[in-house]
Each structure stands twice: as structure tokens, then as C-alpha cells.
Amino acid sequence: MMATLRAWPFWACAAGLALLPLISGPFYTYLWVTCLIFGILAMGLDILMGYTGQVSFGHAAFFGLGAYSTAVMIQFYKIQSLWVSLLVMAVVVGAYALIVSYFATTRRGIYFALLTLIFAEVVHRIFFYTYAFGASDGIQGLDPVTILPGVPVDTPTKIYYVVLAALLVCYLAASVLVRSHFGRVLAAIRENEDRARFLGYNVRRYKMVACVVSALIAGVAGALYPARAGFATPDLLMWTLSGEAIVMVMLGGAGTLVGPILGGAFFTILVEKVSSVWDYYFIAVGLVLAAVVLFMPKGLFGLVARWTRRREAPGAAGIRVPAGAAAEVRRDPAARAGRRT
């Protein structure tokens, strides 16, 4: 964290983001809020996808459970405090992430992704059919959250600063994590799981912890969502959002933390802008994604890094983009070695 706090780009970005609502009207401030929320979601996913090499196709469930935590607190318990919502979210999402990761980490690569997807879809269906939670309509018309008793976060600008603060805290925490002892092991797992095991690391436990941390950050993004939108619906738990989160990470550049934040913002703006003029906006989104994957394998962050001629520190617990699930399947040295003997 000290390294991050000393770096000028961090302060430049934080200052720039802090100034943004001063030059934007309410419409755009709301859009920036959405950008930041999805930026947090994508950054959370990046810990699992970019740094650990495990692609989750179920991050919408963490996000959605976070959103429902806040919504339920406000609607049913009349507790508007964001802190209480975050605490409830941490318990709910943490417990759920532990269960998912316990089962999903028994498998690798595409099967890991499928297991996370299946669990998330189950959660989605449960909320979709549970009348207590508003079933398919979700929980609508929520009061604003508060950060102190009697201080409602009720204007776009206030919401923006709360979300920005959450983003910066999550980013600092994540940047400490990926450079830590633990973060180095995650990079090792991404690069070569079997080697990591034979160095004495309980790979499955590391993956589970990575999954829980990743889920909690996604949960923070989710818990903030009703503060902006005033609702929580089952759509927030759906696989489409999980897929979009993956797209955001890839757009921005996996394994960079900053990249996925950029990716989340870029994706949100792209969808907003194109969908206002064209109903089939996802065609445009798809084309952009294809172009990024083909021509910018390191995503937007790679592009920015090249422009600013900032050479990324090699590896530093995983700046480089992993091949993710594909790499997982490619290397299964145990099986290969076994077959040869």
C-alpha cells in the first residue's frame, strides 16, 4: 500500500476522479457512479481471474447478494446505514463464497467456471421465485442509504463520493493483497498449480481465500448499487452480469487491478451511449470486445501503459495477463507425466 500511496499516478487518478462530479450534471454523475460500481465489481473478479487464473462465471451472485443485503436492510428492517448493509453483505457473501469455492475448487479451468455458474443460477432462481423478496420484481423504491445517522446519501454527488471512497479503499486493499506473500502464491497457482503444491502450498485453500476476497469486493459493489438505483432485482444475480464482468476484466486487462476498473467504466459508458441510439447495441459491444482481444491482448490498461511508457514491473505477483482457463487445461503435467510412465 505504501508503494501505491507514493506513486503519483494513484494521486493523479484519485484527484481527477474527485473533481469529476464538479464538472458533470446529475445525469453524468449517475453514469460515473455506475462506472465506478462496475469498476469495483470487475476489480474484484480480477483477483480471481487475473491473479489466480480461475475464471468465475458466477460473480453476479456475489454482486446481487450484496445488492439484496442493502435492499433488505432498508426495506424490511428500516436500517439505512450503509455500514450495517456492508456488514450484512460481508456475512452473506462471505458464507456463500465459502460454499461455492469449497465445491468449485475441486475442479479446474472450465469446470471451475461451470460450477460457479451453476451455484449463481441457483441463487438467481431462488430470488426470482421468492415472494418475500419481491420475486421477479425485486425490491423497489428504496430510501437512500446513510453513512452517519441522519446523513442520507441522497444526491448524485454524495453517492458518487461514497462510491469513489469505496473504490479507493477496495483498490488499496487489493493492491496490498496482490503484492503480499499470499498474492505471490496466487500468481504461482495461476502459472503452475502443481508446482505450487509441491512447494508446500495448499492450493485449494489459497483458491478458496482468493475466491472469498474476490467475492467480498464484488459484494461491496453490489451493496452500493441500491444506493444509486433505489432497487435490487434478480437481474443483478443473473449470469449475463457475470459474463459482463468477465468482459470488463478482459477489456481493461486482466491481472492489473486498474485495468478492470477502466474496463468496467468503459463497458458502462459504451453500453449507455450505444444503447441510446441503437437497440442492438450488444453487436457493437461484441465488436469492440473482439477488437480488444485481437489487437490489445493486455486490454485498455496495456494501451495506457504503452502510451505513458510506464514499464510495468515484471510479474510483481502478476501484472501480465494469464491465458486463464485455457492455460489451465493446457498444462496438466501430472496427467501427462503419468501417462508416459
Binding site: 496490498v176 493483497l177 503480499s180 500468481a187 504461482a188 502443481d194 509441491f198 510483481a316 503419468g338
Partner: protein, 251 residues
């Protein structure tokens, strides 16, 4: 007469479906010695290693390390007990730098490992990693991506990773495979230096007979999963069953 046995296998067997990859292998490795396992392709050597290191559970039999039954213990726990291995196909962290590779291995034995504070602490193991790499003549390539090293250098790095976990028993699966003759000599020389200095026990799979005969205290010969001979290099070399296995007596 055998003194201190560090590793012992009793009746160790492993089936893959109907195939018996390993059958009733009894082996005793005395501490501080070099023990080689040889045999033609498909003899079960790597399977033997994989069963000893917990990658596969044995179908039958026991593995005993320092008097403790470690049969069926998973690889990460086996590593903690003091067994490390290198792989037949080099296993390194290709996209990380050479230094990062060994740092990851070195930090495995720090008290932080597995503790909550490892989530934020970043212990400095640079010096230890650099020392080890220097010994294996990789100190000029610390910031190179591991995947960019030459084949021989990657093999050395793999050995560094194993050594960084401070094992008492090191299993080397064809450490000199694909190396040039001069690299092979260098590798053997360096490995033996480390082994002597650390009092390390080596269990070695090797195809290069000059290596096997040069450094082994004892040699076990596997053929079609069975132990067909064991003894000093000279005894094994003179054993007609071994000659037959290598020249192809079956069928």
C-alpha cells in the same frame, strides 16, 4: 547395516485401470545417500515418484518417511515433511521472473505461510533466493522471465525451486533430460555439491547411464512396474535380468 533409513516403501503398487503401473515395490533409501531408479520407458519410475510424493494414492502398500507412514498424504503436506521433487517435464512459473520463481519457493517455509497476516505482509526473501540462484549460475538472469531461459537453465531453476523448500530428501525425475553433455556434467556437479553440503538424500530417476553409474550408491531397476534388480551400480550392470530388460527380452 542399513543404518538410518530415510525413505522406505513396502509392497507399493499402483494400478491404472487394468494396467499395473507399479507392482509390489520394496525400497529402502539410507539417509545421505544417492539412490537411483532406472528402467526402460514405461517401467513405472515416474509413477513411483508420483506415489511417493502423494500425487497418486497407491493401490496397495505403504510409504514410510523418517519412520512415519505418509501413504496417501497430499503433495503439499509431503513437501512440508521434508520431501521435494523436480519434474520430468520442467515445472516452473513461466510468466514470472527467475527471482520471483525462487522467492515464491523460499517464502513457503516462513512462519507467515498460511497465516492471516500473509494477506498483507510481503516478507523479503530476495537474498536467500538470489544466493540459491547464484549457486546454479542463474544470478545473471534474475529479472528474466522464467519461460525465456534456455532448456538447461529451466531445469536448473526447477531444481532451485525444490531446494528452496529445504528438503531432506530430494526426488529428481530425469534432471539432465535434454541437456547437453557439458550441461549434464555441470548439473551433476552442482547437485552433488548441494547434496553434500546439506546432507541431502537424493532419489534419482535417470536415463543417462554415465550419470547413474557415476554418482549412485545404490541402483534399483524397474521393469514393467516390478523391481527386477537392486544393488551397487556394478552389481546392477552385471545382472543378466537388467541387460535383458534393456535390450528387450519380452515378447
Amino acid at each position: 547395516m542399513l543404518g538410518d533409513i530415510i525413505l522406505e516403501t513396502q509392497n507399493l503398487s499402483r494400478d491404472f485401470g487394468a494396467l499395473r503401473a507399479l507392482g509390489h515395490v520394496d525400497l529402502q533409501v539410507p539417509r545421505g545417500r544417492v539412490h537411483s531408479v532406472i528402467g526402460p520407458n514405461g517401467a513405472g519410475k515416474t509413477t513411483f515418484f508420483n506415489v511417493v510424493t502423494g500425487m497418486y494414492a497407491p493401490t496397495a502398500g505403504r510409504v514410510i518417511f523418517k519412520g512415519e507412514d505418509i501413504t496417501g498424504v497430499p503433495p503439499e503436506a509431503i513437501n512440508w515433511k521434508g520431501i521435494a521433487k523436480t519434474f520430468q517435464i520442467t515445472q516452473i512459473f513461466r510468466e514470472l521472473t527467475v527471482l520471483e520463481n525462487v522467492q515464491i519457493a523460499c517464502q513457503s517455509r516462513l512462519p507467515e505461510t498460511g497465516k492471516l497476516r500473509s494477506l498483507w505482509a510481503a516478507p523479503d526473501v530476495r537474498d536467500r533466493a538470489a544466493d540459491l540462484l547464484k549457486f546454479f549460475r542463474l544470478d545473471g538472469r534474475l529479472d528474466e522471465h522464467a519461460g525465456n531461459l534456455s532448456h538447461g537453465e529451466q531445469r536448473f531453476l526447477d531444481i532451485c525451486l525444490a531446494l528452496a523448500t529445504e528438503p531432506e530428501l530430494l526426488l529428481l525425475d530425469e534432471p539432465t533430460a535434454g541437456m547437453t553433455p557439458s550441461e549434464t556434467r555441470e548439473a551433476v556437479d552442482l547437485i552433488m555439491q548441494v547434496a553434500r553440503r546439506r546432507g541431502l538424500t537424493l532419489l534419482l530417476i535417470e536415463h543417462d547411464m554415465s550419470v547413474v553409474m557415476g554418482i549412485s550408491d545404490r541402483v534399483t531397476v524397474l521393469h514393467q512396474g516390478l523391481k527386477i534388480a537392486e544393488g551397487t551400480p556394478d552389481e546392477v550392470r552385471a545382472d543378466p535380468k537388467v541387460v535383458e530388460a534393456y535390450l528387450g527380452g519380452e515378447l
